[in-house]
Symmetry: C2
Subunit: 340 residues, 2 copies
Amino acid sequence: MKIAVDAMGGDFAPEEIVLGAIEAVKEYDLDVVLVGDENRINPLLQKQDGIVSDRISVYHASQTIDMDEHPGVSVRKKKDASIVVATRLVKEGVCDAVVAAGSTGAAVAAAMFGLGRIKGVARPTIATPIPNLTGTTILLDSGANVDCKPKHLVQSAVMGSIYSEYVLGIAKPRVGLLNIGEEETKGNEQTLTTFPLLKQLTTINFIGNVEGRDIPKGTVDVVVCDGFVGNVVLKLGEGLASAIMQLIKEAIKGSGFLTKIASLAVLPALKGLKKKLDYAEYGGAPLLGVDGGFIICHGSSKAKAIKNAIRVAHEIVEQKVIEHIRDSIAKEGIVTNDNE
Amino acid sequence: MKIAVDAMGGDFAPEEIVLGAIEAVKEYDLDVVLVGDENRINPLLQKQDGIVSDRISVYHASQTIDMDEHPGVSVRKKKDASIVVATRLVKEGVCDAVVAAGSTGAAVAAAMFGLGRIKGVARPTIATPIPNLTGTTILLDSGANVDCKPKHLVQSAVMGSIYSEYVLGIAKPRVGLLNIGEEETKGNEQTLTTFPLLKQLTTINFIGNVEGRDIPKGTVDVVVCDGFVGNVVLKLGEGLASAIMQLIKEAIKGSGFLTKIASLAVLPALKGLKKKLDYAEYGGAPLLGVDGGFIICHGSSKAKAIKNAIRVAHEIVEQKVIEHIRDSIAKEGIVTNDNE
């Protein structure tokens, strides 16, 4: 299996991207094609040994897309941009999936133009893994689509459930609709209209409405919501986790001498906690609904996050997630013919 | 000044409500009228000394409204329900503000029917204080109104700014619109339409769009959003904070002997952190936009939360928050004539 990695995207490209790819081919049974400026990538691979040079190749792309460029326009104009080329390699069957850490907008646009949507899917959705007390909750959509119609949420539910089952290995994932109360009568117009549609689905385990607190608790495996709400949830979660870590450090710092000494012994426990809250451990977020494996990473991804994203891309292909989505969308009769 | 407290509302009524009232009159310069079943309230006051019996009186109300009753219907039917009577005492000028810990729906309905809206306000909004790294952010609306129109958000911005300034004592509070990006062009239909309206306001310090992570960071004092989003934010925040505290405890528990011993010394620091994250410290959340001081408390409020809510009610009256809202709504020309 070959994963195309956009080597030029993200705050630490290409250095950390290349490092992540090196770690991935050492750890997993896959090949990586690094797409981007060969003059910058090749020197980073020079001192590598046999396995790495066997399994990593470089595919030159002369352009890049910056964070502040208009995604749709730049993807159409810059035909030799690394993200565009990486996507084309999948479309042409040279590679099996894409990993991208640059502009999320450009990545989504490249995937839409380059791979197209899975037949019947109205809007592709970003499914972000969120750590909880007992495992991982998949949140979707987490920012690709705002002002979603009920059918978009319904398709998200189906796609998220498949991802949770086949990639995270959760049998019969509990799918919940993010709402402001558990009762069926609670909600805004969007959730009130979506609820009965979700209840009708036969391929997922819909457990009803869930609330914000259910995400960290881990009482739900797949949380469906509008991309506006999902994006707020994601950024609040990140911000709150980092604020609490800071408060703990300050509390220890500001305390007495004995506590300071004692805290040295507690530090390993805190590090374990930090690791649990670290998005890098979870790799990237899949863009579900496009016709090919496509993983979007945090812009500040370092090697570990890239390595894990490559692992996730591998899983998506191995577990035939695209095929399962196509089957379920058809089976549920929630096919749409255009980008409604 | 006299604060009417619904003694029958909340999970720990009337015991904890009465205890909170006792603590409040001992600590602050105010009187409390406990509204509810005198046969249950009076015994709880029996052993109290001079100050308490001087400053606390009981006003009998024979009915209560349960959490599962329809708010609007029950408030209209049960004319002798404690929350209805407490609100009437303010309307009649006997008391100056209400504190309520029962059903939020019933409290909002009682306030709407009993006090009415401040002239020009379309929808009253719940303004919830949220702890952040440097102080307190006011989030509104946090659940009273979903599917808000832009003018509702604009009125929320004005009311929240006044509350932050006069009750929390923040000069020129930074008011932000909760969104999925900082740029003016980011957002859903609701925020895109609201942004230019907020920019036109002259009585507030609008700093533009803010993101989920800005709330815990403390880079914004007043965050304006739809009640659906606000409610998700609030419940996610509560859930995440308690999940992280649990993870810390587990991390320490699962670690080696030395760490366990050491952690005993770190406990005071953790307790300080817990206190910082404890909603009880912040009292209740004001219902802004009704024509009278009205504080809604968490259903699981204990004495400390009730005491702090009584303090907040006192501040609202003392600082003439209602008058300031009336003035600003008129001055900004964002008056509406009905519940649009």
